[in-house]
């Protein structure tokens, strides 16, 4: 059994493909700029709400599946073993959760012209503290999300250049290109580049899947290898593992469905039919992509046992790098796959960054600092803020190089907080009687409980941040929902209760 990781050498051909890809991205950014209808927030941040099925589906797909899916999920599957099959379920569950609130949110967004998810929050609840808290939690989550993509960018370019470009050079190159096309064309440029990136990703995943099930004895050989070295990772979860499974379903299923950049794609749909078809197709995508990431980690476990937490984030690179010298055809296929990985990373980072800029500009700057700000001024402020945030995140990505913090730790930090917005959307669109005070109190207490559990574990006050196998964010969420429901039911009714519209 090969227990050493392969040296991945892509050669100049791969660098040429990467360079060509980046030039195409810049061209699309310029085209997006030329196609701008007007200098308005709606046009810049939602592409004028003109996306039909093809673009909407590909931008949803490229945004939902990130560098984390192909690198982080595979790493998690490597660490956790067969029980990480739960990732397939929770990524499908994300689309199921959309079915609960998206029909109503889409309708409201069309009717009232929402730009950001917090437009809905303020319109529904009319609470300034609640709006600010939602922006803070969402931007916190998104910033971590972008940071995670930066780390993946560094690893991706380092691998594809065969070490000729360093981690930080890779980050700076991709971020530079991303900021240029995003600043030029806004959401329209991001969606068009997403369409290219989504196509690459779809083709790349098909190639990897075919390669994995045909090369080196496929899954059967991998399972036998795992049985020899770590048989416990083939077994079904025990009682605690089952609780963790359910906790993961809740946190990821509810949390990922609240990503602001995904919610803004609901607002960006050309019409209801485009949105319904896109989400209908998206429901099946985890069976190709998330399942694939699971299989990559599973196979890596058999081929490269004993990797550290940090190295586990690179198992996709190791597994595919091991195939690259087999034939010229395989070389170009693997190069395409890595281009798809880079594409997935960039498409997620650009969307998240655009979303941060829109929330800061519309919900904070315009609402609390410059109510009379023109659209032009707000666009300049949004872009400047996005560039500033990116500079801070690049610095943090550099710091992460010096630590043993893996991508998965960053994911948990973002979702633990973002999931606290769940009652705002899930109950907020159905339960008219629920007041802002209940939602705000629930969210504050839920976030505090999450922080206490998390920090207690970090400072060794207690042993785990998942008491009883349930994640800190889920404990916070349960308290959050309990407060929202209890407060609403117990408070004296001011008007006849109309439970649903």
């Amino acid at each position: 059994m090969n227990t050493s990781v392969p040296e991945v050498t892509f050669g100049p051909g791969a660098l040429a493909v990467l360079g060509g890809y980046l030039v195409v991205m810049l061209g699309l950014g310029l085209l997006g700029r030329l196609k701008q209808r007007e200098r308005s927030l709606r046009d810049f941040y939602l592409g004028g709400s003109t996306f039909g099925f093809a673009v909407l589906f590909l931008t949803l797909f490229a945004t939902q599946y990130s560098g984390n899916t192909l690198l982080g999920f595979a790493g998690r599957s490597y660490v956790q073993g067969a029980t990480y099959i739960v990732s397939v379920t929770f990524m499908i569950l994300v689309i199921t959760v959309f079915m609960i609130y998206a029909p109503r949110l889409f309708r409201l967004a069309r009717r009232f012209g929402y730009i950001t998810p917090t437009d809905f929050v303020y319109h529904r609840f009319g609470s300034h503290p609640l709006r600010v808290l939602c922006v803070v939690l969402l931007c916190w989550g998104l910033a971590n999300y972008v940071l995670e993509q930066l780390v993946a960018m560094g690893h991706g370019v380092e691998a594809i250049s065969g070490g000729r470009m360093s981690f930080m050079q890779g980050v700076l190159l991709l971020v530079g290109v991303m900021l240029i096309y995003e600043s030029l064309g806004g959401m329209r440029a991001v969606a068009w580049t997403d369409a290219v990136q989504g196509t690459l990703l779809l083709c790349g995943c098909a190639v990897i899947l075919y390669t994995l099930v045909t090369a080196d004895g496929g899954l059967a050989a991998a399972s036998e290898g795992i049985r020899a070295t770590s048989p416990e990772r083939l077994e079904a979860p025990d009682a605690r593992g089952l609780r963790t499974w359910v906790s993961t379903l809740l946190m990821l299923g509810l949390g990922v469905a609240l990503y602001p950049h995904a919610v803004q794609r609901i607002f960006a749909a050309k019409n209801e039919i485009s949105l319904r078809r896109s989400l209908g197709a998206m429901a099946f995508m985890p069976l190709g992509t998330t399942l694939l990431a699971f299989l990559i980690g599973f196979i890596a476990l058999s081929r490269f046992p004993g990797l550290s937490q940090l190295e586990s984030d690179k198992v996709t690179i190791y597994v595919l790098g091991g195939l690259i010298d087999r034939s010229p055809v395989m070389y170009w296929l693997i190069v395409m796959v890595f281009a798809a990985v880079v594409a997935a990373i960039m498409s997620t980072a650009d969307s998240a960054l655009l979303s941060i800029g829109s929330m800061f500009t519309k919900d904070i700057y315009k609402s609390y600092f410059r109510r009379e700000a023109s659209a032009r001024e707000m666009l300049i402020v949004g872009k400047t803020f996005a560039w500033g945030i990116m500079a801070i995140l690049i610095l943090m990505a550099w710091v992460s190089l010096e630590t043993e913090s893996s991508i998965w730790v960053l994911i948990e930090l973002k979702l633990e907080f973002m999931v606290q917005l769940s009652p705002v959307f899930m109950l907020g669109v159905y339960w008219r009687r629920m007041p802002a005070s209940a939602v705000l109190t629930g969210m504050v207490l839920g976030t505090l409980l999450t922080l206490v559990i998390w920090c207690g574990a970090a400072f060794d006050v207690w042993a785990t941040r998942s008491p009883w196998g349930v994640g800190a964010g889920v404990w916070g969420l349960l308290l959050n929902y309990g407060v929202c429901v209890g407060w609403t039911v117990l408070r004296p009714a001011r008007r006849p209760a109309s439970v649903s519209a």
Partner: protein, 120 residues
Amino acid sequence: MGHNARSVANTKRLSDYEDERDQDAFWEAIRPADEPLRHRWFLPAVVLILVVSVPWYLPSSVGGRLAAGLPVWTWITIACGLALAVITSFASLRLWRDGADEGGDAASDPESPAASGEKP
């Protein structure tokens, strides 16, 4: 809050409200012609699939027994994932109808009633 704006609410977009909010206009606008949660079987079916997808009911004898290169129990979870995808896709395509879009691409036209906040 917002009650004095009720009479003109239907011609306003959110940005026109400033600090006033018309909750009646909000709740009037929120309900689509049809939506998945209005079908009583949808949510129980989703919960049932999720319950089956979690391998809590397996006897310990199943262990790490393999089928087609993966542990047997993972195939149950994958099958449940497929069922969840089918039901979700069905809900999106068949159980959700907004009712406001039948005229086509209203939001993309800044002059259209829907885009300006009026009722179509």
